[in-house]
């Protein structure tokens, strides 16, 4: 593997890891709210969260490019504050990936939270557990399968991102050139050996990742009261 390909690999892993952490922090409260609320607005929120599942990545990529660029609402605001706009930057990619992978974090978590049910939480409350305590010592352990699935799918989905990155990335080595783009470039330049190496590696790694998760999920099966 060339040093450029190694760089693409580390950029991909970094992007996926950062996106997963950001989404864990943002997605957990959204999923919790969606699982518990009786507010009718939640249907709208749920639909918005699921949008990236059905939209072509180019739609998201196009809007992100326009929004993050110097003339867009996000990039323009940053520029007027004397900061740099976010098109073609790693931060911009994290932002785009966060939107792109949002449903992969929120939906498994929401289902897991919904499955916990009211009773365990009420019991914990009668034992004087504070809300935060109830969440972290009752809900989180009971939802670990959901967390495992959400984290893995978010990570893997971000690794597999192509269309969005193509639109807002700009193919900068070490910053926005990820594996999927490197594979595309190798294939276009007819360097099939390098394309095979990366594509085959990604295929095997993705399978192993999903296989491990499903294996663990089976073992972690929680017996519900």
């Amino acid at each position: 593997m060339s040093s450029a390909d190694w760089m693409a690999l580390t950029t991909t892993l970094k992007l996926s890891a950062v996106t997963t952490i950001v989404l864990l922090i943002l997605g957990t409260p959204i999923a919790w709210w969606l699982a518990r609320t009786k507010n009718k607005v939640s249907v709208v929120v749920e639909a918005v969260v699921a949008l990236p599942l059905v939209l072509p990545p180019t739609v998201l990529g196009f809007y992100m490019l326009v929004a993050l660029g110097p003339n867009g609402p996000i990039g323009g605001t940053l520029e007027s504050l004397g900061l740099h706009h976010l098109a073609f930057t790693f931060t911009g990619l994290v932002l785009a990936s966060t939107l792109y992978s949002l449903p992969f974090m929120v939906q498994p978590l929401k289902d897991a939270f919904a499955a916990v049910g009211d009773r365990m939480i009420e019991v914990a409350a009668t034992l004087r557990a504070r809300p935060w305590d109830r969440f972290f010592s009752v809900v989180v352990p009971l939802s670990r399968r959901g967390f495992l699935t959400a984290i893995t799918l978010t990570f893997a989905h971000t690794v597999g991102e192509f269309g969005v990155v193509l639109m807002v990335g700009g193919n900068i080595p070490g910053e926005t050139r990820v594996l999927s783009i490197a594979i595309y470039d190798h294939a276009e330049a007819m360097d099939y050996a390098s394309a095979h190496l990366l594509a085959g590696g990604l295929l095997v790694a993705s399978f192993l990742l999903l296989f491990t998760v499903y294996l663990l999920n089976r073992r972690y099966t929680v017996v519900h009261p």
């Binding site: 490019l65 326009v66 993050l68 660029g69 110097p70 003339n71 990039g75 740099h84 706009h85 098109a87 073609f88 193509l166 700009g170 193919n171 900068i172 595309y184 470039d185 294939a187 276009e188 330049a189 007819m190």
Partner: protein
């Protein structure tokens, strides 16, 4: 039963009507380099005028991608590459019907929405306010490679490298600049001369002595060997109406001298 009868009647109608439908109309699918995005559409219009029944489709993308796709059996009848070497390679592998023909020599320009940036000399670019500079990926896009050569010729490639953003093809690169996401960049003259881009910012022609020529060529693919429309279109490329369009888009034509 009623449905069955209806279906029978429909099948009969199709059988009877088939000879009268424009069955004689041909169809032609062209894979064209992204720099032809606007010019080829107009050339096809001039071709279509005389044959309204024929179905002519043009797909735009990077020359390298089409090369790989045709090698792997893509259903294209003609291949217009931005680099004549690609169709020549196909020809060597016996994947074309007949020989590769040159159709134009392309030119590159420095383009920016900010006129003061577009008017700069390439060698001054590193000292400009440019933060993101767009070129097509030199790894597989012919216009990207020529842009790289021009920057190298002017001795600023290394200095500009950290600021480069790369488009998948030359139209994608133009889009980076058009949205303002990249401050400036090197694109095809044919693109900035198109009606959609005209009047947006400013551009400066890059001397063609600074890079290898962008010799563009086309070929009829093996699968279209028996397609008369492909031959007609190949001849049409050499006709005056087609040449007039190409000239208007800044291409230097075979047998002519450029500016």
């Amino acid at each position: 039963m009623k449905l069955l009868r209806k279906l029978k009647r429909l099948a009969f109608a199709i059988l009877v009507m088939a000879p009268f439908s424009p069955a004689m109309a041909g169809s032609l699918t062209i894979a064209a380099a992204a720099d032809l995005k606007f010019a080829m559409t107009e050339v096809v219009d001039t071709f279509r005028a005389a044959r309204p029944d024929d179905k002519i489709e043009v797909i735009y993308g990077s020359s390298g991608k089409f090369f790989t796709q045709i090698k792997n059996g893509a259903p294209f009848d003609m291949y217009f590459s931005a680099d004549i070497e690609y169709p020549r390679k196909l020809e060597k592998e016996g994947l074309t019907a007949g020989s590769t023909r040159p159709y134009a020599v392309g030119r590159i320009v420095l383009w920016s929405l900010k006129p003061e940036l577009a008017k700069m000399a390439l060698k001054d670019l590193p000292n400009s306010s440019i933060r993101k500079f767009a070129i097509a990926n030199p790894q597989h896009a012919p216009y990207g490679l020529r842009g790289k050569e021009a920057l190298q010729h002017q001795g600023v490639w290394t200095a500009m490298e950290p600021r480069l953003v790369m488009g998948e093809n030359i139209a994608h690169t133009a889009q980076f600049i058009d949205t303002g996401a990249a401050d400036a960049g090197i694109v095809a003259l044919a693109l900035v001369l198109s009606p959609t881009m005209q009047g947006k910012g400013a551009w400066t022609l890059i001397p063609d002595a600074w890079h290898e020529p962008l010799e563009q060529g086309f070929a009829i693919t093996q699968r279209a060997a028996g397609n008369p429309l492909a031959k007609d279109f190949a001849n049409h490329m050499a006709s005056e109406p087609a040449r007039a369009v190409m000239r208007r888009y800044g291409f230097v034509l075979p047998g002519e001298k450029g500016k």
